[in-house]
């Protein structure tokens, strides 16, 4: 009997992947399959009157679908039903799908799609967050809003008026593309009165109802199976629903399997991205550095349709005050509509944007007070018993101060500060060390977990084998390894190779919710643990084992329970803990069941001739509760940090006058390479969460939140003035007037 939680066991899918044997959907040949391609609108806004096809070409073996061919509702259902599967009448962004073509020959399908002539009456689009913000500030009640959230606590205006110091600031962040290495891919296969969907995805139970609604079929006639998924990061949360519908429409028309594979350019150009943001802060502070009041205006560019923007906005609004104690708070958060492809989920989900603002702002406050940024943070960081902006009392597992102390020790912060002045004055290079604190709520916001009502199942099978059936997906984050570790331990430490967790198939796996919001271990894992306890109690009964004893012969005990049947299933459903309270309308109460915490320090140098920033070392300490598999947790933190490095320094997306992203290839959309990887010094603190599986919280998104402002704060120290916009590419630094001072 072994203790599996805390063991860095190698991941179960790792060797096959390393041997090149894992079969992704693009590697799989489907008998008689056609390739589907999308016909996209050539303008960002307008009225589509008609599509004319070139009837002089040979259409035999070619299939096409337009909006009028959709048997069910013409929408991609997620939170709202405002986004059509295929646009008709209104065009809302450049590249919006208007029709579909399929052929066994991909080249032929593409040429046929190109013959479509769209009769469109163009209108003037709104393309840029700056224009959208300007418009919103002129007329805040306009029809340009996708969603609004206000959080009020105390009396922020009064509190600001009686503060010793008021510090204002405005911070901007750009869009970010996921660049999962495997581009979007999905296939639809007609199976009698059913349709089977295969795909690279995070959320099989988002895809199922979306396809069912558009095809006008009952949910249970849509079977969704996840294929090995080559990265996702939020980019395969809602987006696969849309192309799954497209493939299913074509498959139904052609009575044949249809595969849709994006190439990189199509993928970057038209799939979701991180919401661009503009966050305006007004902080009221006492002379001794105590934070008292914060007013925040959080504006996100949502793109053309609602998609997931309301929940992204909610997370942004709640995290906008940072991991700090403020007595009075007023947050006005808005998602603005523009004529860009809908912005969507991306690791962090609204939190990285507001962290860039608040963590930059804390350094501005420190500068005004002439206080050390680390000391100022320590004075105001949330501690156990404190209340958040939504009035949530933090009852357990709060590690903001411990993380910051750990990082500042590891980075030798005090010594670096002393050394700095001496170094700076002699070089054309300038140096800085910046810190940031961060937090991330685990699981869905507010009542989200209650609405999802996740279910898990445990199947016992011959030979003592155990299968965990959940809809949570493996996308590289290690779910297929970590979940079995939880189960094997909860079942009394049985051999790990008896336990498996396969890629989900909606005909077998219950709906344990989407694989998002850092919830798979914390929420689904807790249900798996609890279900396993039921299994164990039952097996002890049938094997006549006392409660305080281990089951002596596991396969035999399972055999007694099976009584000759091939398998038996145990199930468990989420029940809301009675002490968690949430008011959605007022955004008051327990926003998250638990928070993960972190702090990060970045040591940077900037070349004053080229304005190029290099990050030499990153120290990061996180508390995500029990690290079930420390190697996997460490990998999440390292990977998240380097994604955040790209967000801060390289990943630049500009929009053309027509509404196209100018950087739509890996030649000009620059993500970090191994040459950009700084020294990564990660430490884990394990502050247990009582309801998490063996004390675990969520970690997936957390490391995305703090690094961009830490680098910005390091540049502030190096340059004496601060960039307030990311990405901090040289052009942006020059534009903000930060160049030219070579200091020597």
């Amino acid at each position: 009997m072994r203790n599996w939680c805390g063991e860095p066991v190698p991941r179960v899918d790792g060797l096959d992947k390393a041997r090149g044997r894992t079969v992704y959907l693009g590697d799989q040949s489907l008998d008689g399959a056609l390739f589907g391609v999308l016909v996209r609108s050539p303008v960002a806004k307008g009225r589509l009157k008609k599509i004319y096809w070139d009837e002089s070409i040979d259409w035999s073996g070619l299939f096409r679908v337009e909006a009028e061919d959709i048997p069910g509702q013409n929408c991609v259902s997620i939170i709202k039903k405002d986004m059509p599967c295929l646009a008709f009448d209104k065009i809302m962004y450049l590249g919006e799908p208007v029709a579909l073509v399929a052929s066994a020959d991909l080249g032929l399908a593409r040429s046929a799609a190109l013959t479509a002539k769209q009769d469109i009456e163009p209108e003037k689009p709104l393309l840029d967050i700056r224009q959208a913000v300007e418009k919103y500030r002129q007329e805040p009640q306009s029809d340009g809003l996708i969603h609004s959230i206000d959080i009020e606590r105390g009396d922020v205006q009064n509190a600001l008026a009686s503060s010793d110091l008021i510090v204002d600031g405005e911070y901007w962040t750009g869009p970010q593309e996921h660049v999962y290495l495997e581009p979007q891919v999905v296939a639809a296969i007609p199976r009698g009165d059913k349709i089977e969907i295969l795909g690279s995805m995070q959320c099989p139970y988002y895809v199922r109802p979306a396809v069912a609604l558009a095809l006008g079929m009952p949910d249970e006639n849509i079977i969704v199976r996840q294929t090995p998924t080559g990265g996702a990061f939020g980019g395969k949360e809602d987006f696969p629903s849309s192309i799954a519908i497209h493939a299913a429409l074509l498959a139904q028309k052609a009575h044949a399997p249809v595969k849709i594979i994006f190439d990189r350019q199509e993928d970057i150009s038209f799939t979701t991205k991180r919401h661009p943001s503009c966050v305006k802060l007004k902080a009221g502070v006492k002379a001794d550095g105590t934070f008292s009041a914060l007013e925040a205006e959080v504006l996100l560019d949502g793109g053309a349709y609602t998609t997931l923007s309301p929940v992204v906005l909610s997370r942004a609004a709640i995290h906008a005050c940072g991991p700090y104690r403020w007595r009075d708070v007023g947050v006005k958060a808005r998602t603005l509509r523009t004529n860009m492809p809908p912005y969507g989920a991306f690791r962090g989900f609204g939190a990285p944007q507001v962290h860039f603002a608040i963590e930059s702002h804390v350094d501005e406050i420190a500068a005004r007070l002439d206080m050390d940024p680390v000391e100022l943070r320590k004075k105001n960081l949330l501690r156990e018993g404190d209340q958040t902006a939504t009035g949530q009392v933090l009852k357990e597992s709060v590690s903001a101060v411990a993380c910051l102390e750990s990082v500042s020790r590891a980075a030798d912060y005090a010594a670096f500060k002393k050394k700095l002045e001496h170094v700076q004055s002699t070089r054309h290079k300038k140096y800085g060390l910046g810190v940031a604190s961060f937090w991330h709520g685990g699981g869905f916001t507010g009542a989200g977990e209650e609405h999802i009502a996740a279910e898990v199942a445990i199947d016992l099978m011959e030979g003592g084998r155990v299968q965990v059936a959940i809809s949570s997906t493996e996308m590289g984050q290690g779910e297929r390894t970590t979940i079995p570790q939880i189960a094997a331990q909860a079942l009394g430490g049985i051999p790990l190779d008896l336990v498996s967790c396969d890629l989900p198939d909606t005909s077998n796996a219950p709906d344990s919710g989407p694989t998002v919001a850092s919830r798979t271990i914390m929420m689904v894992g807790a249900l798996v643990e609890s279900c396993c306890m039921d299994v164990l109690a039952y097996l002890k009964k049938v094997s006549k084992t006392r409660d305080d004893e281990q089951i002596a012969d596991w396969p035999d005990a399972v055999g007694r329970a099976l009584k000759g049947r091939p398998k038996i299933r145990f199930a468990k459903k989420y029940e809301k803990p009675p002490d968690l309270k949430w008011n959605e309308e007022r955004h008051v109460g327990d926003a998250y069941a638990a928070y993960a915490w972190g702090a990060v320090a970045a040591r940077v140098s900037i070349d004053m001739l080229t304005m190029e920033t290099t990050v030499d070392d990153i120290w990061c300490t996180v508390d995500a509760g029990k690290a079930i598999n420390p190697k996997i947790v460490e990998g999440q933190v390292q990977g998240g940090l380097v994604q955040a490095l790209g967000y801060a320094l390289f990943e630049n997306l500009q929009v053309s006058e027509q509404g196209a992203f100018l950087q739509n290839r890996l030649q000009n959309y620059i993500v970090p390479t191994s040459m950009d990887t700084p020294g990564l010094h990660v430490e884990l603190i394990e502050n247990m969460y009582s309801r998490g599986p063996f004390g675990a919280k969520g970690v997936g998104e957390l490391p995305m939140n703090g690094l961009a402002p830490a680098i910005r704060n390091a540049l502030r120290q190096a340059l004496g003035q601060a960039p307030n916009r990311i990405p901090m590419i040289p052009e942006n630094l020059v534009e903000q007037g930060l160049a030219g001072n070579t200091g020597g």
């Binding site: 860095p8 190698p10 991941r11 899918d13 790792g14 060797l15 096959d16 992947k17 390393a18 041997r19 090149g20 044997r21 894992t22 079969v23 992704y24 693009g26 590697d27 996921h178 660049v179 999962y180 290495l181 495997e182 581009p183 090995p228 998924t229 080559g230 990265g231 996702a232 990061f233 190439d263 990189r264 996308m475 590289g476 984050q477 290690g478 190697k631 996997i632 460490e634 990998g635 390292q638 990977g639 998240g640 940090l641 380097v642 994604q643 290839r665 890996l666 030649q667 993500v671 970090p672 390479t673 191994s674 040459m675 990887t677 990564l680």
Partner: protein, 162 residues
């Protein structure tokens, strides 16, 4: 105009004969004609490295490689062939133990680059892997794997000599 081309190559240690169109990329021939799905198309323009293979011992991007120009006798090593090399199993197991494999999509190309780095021990790991993008790991586990395998292989060689 495309014409059919016939070539005899050594792919992963085996002599093979293959016929393909003159305009095909090596990536297409490997995947479509030889059924070797290890090499992936991540970008199709030589930026991501997911299609990396060795051609006569040199690290190449199969999405930029016209297949027809590879003459008879060309030796090609793909991710699938690494397991049967001397260093292969060590590299694969070390990578997995170190957490250098996450989503796995960059991994076949990355393993080819790592294998090549075993043959070129003087090239720093970070530099040698810089043509292969990975969006999951942050590269540290990959670099550590190359360094660790080099240490082990160098140790073995020293042992053989004494």
């Amino acid at each position: 105009m495309e014409v059919a081309v016939n070539r005899r190559w050594n792919v992963n240690g085996q002599e093979i004969e293959v016929t393909f169109n003159s305009g095909d990329r090596l990536l297409d021939v490997l995947r479509n004609d030889l059924g070797l799905m290890g090499a992936k198309e991540g970008c199709g323009e030589g930026e991501c490295g997911a299609c990396s293979v060795l051609i006569n011992g040199e690290l190449k991007l199969s999405c930029l490689q016209l297949a027809a120009v590879l003459s008879d006798g060309t030796a090609i090593l793909t991710a699938e062939g690494i397991e049967n090399t001397r260093q292969g199993p060590l590299l694969q197991e070390t990578a997995n133990r170190n957490g250098a494999v996450q989503c796995g999509y960059c991994t076949p190309g990355m393993m080819v680059a790592m294998y090549w780095l075993m043959e070129h021990p003087k090239i720093p790991a970070g530099q040698g892997l810089s043509g292969n993008l990975c969006r999951c790991t942050g590269y540290k586990a990959l670099i550590d794997t190359v360094d660790e395998c080099r240490r082990i292989l160098a140790g073995k060689k020293d042992g053989d000599m004494t």
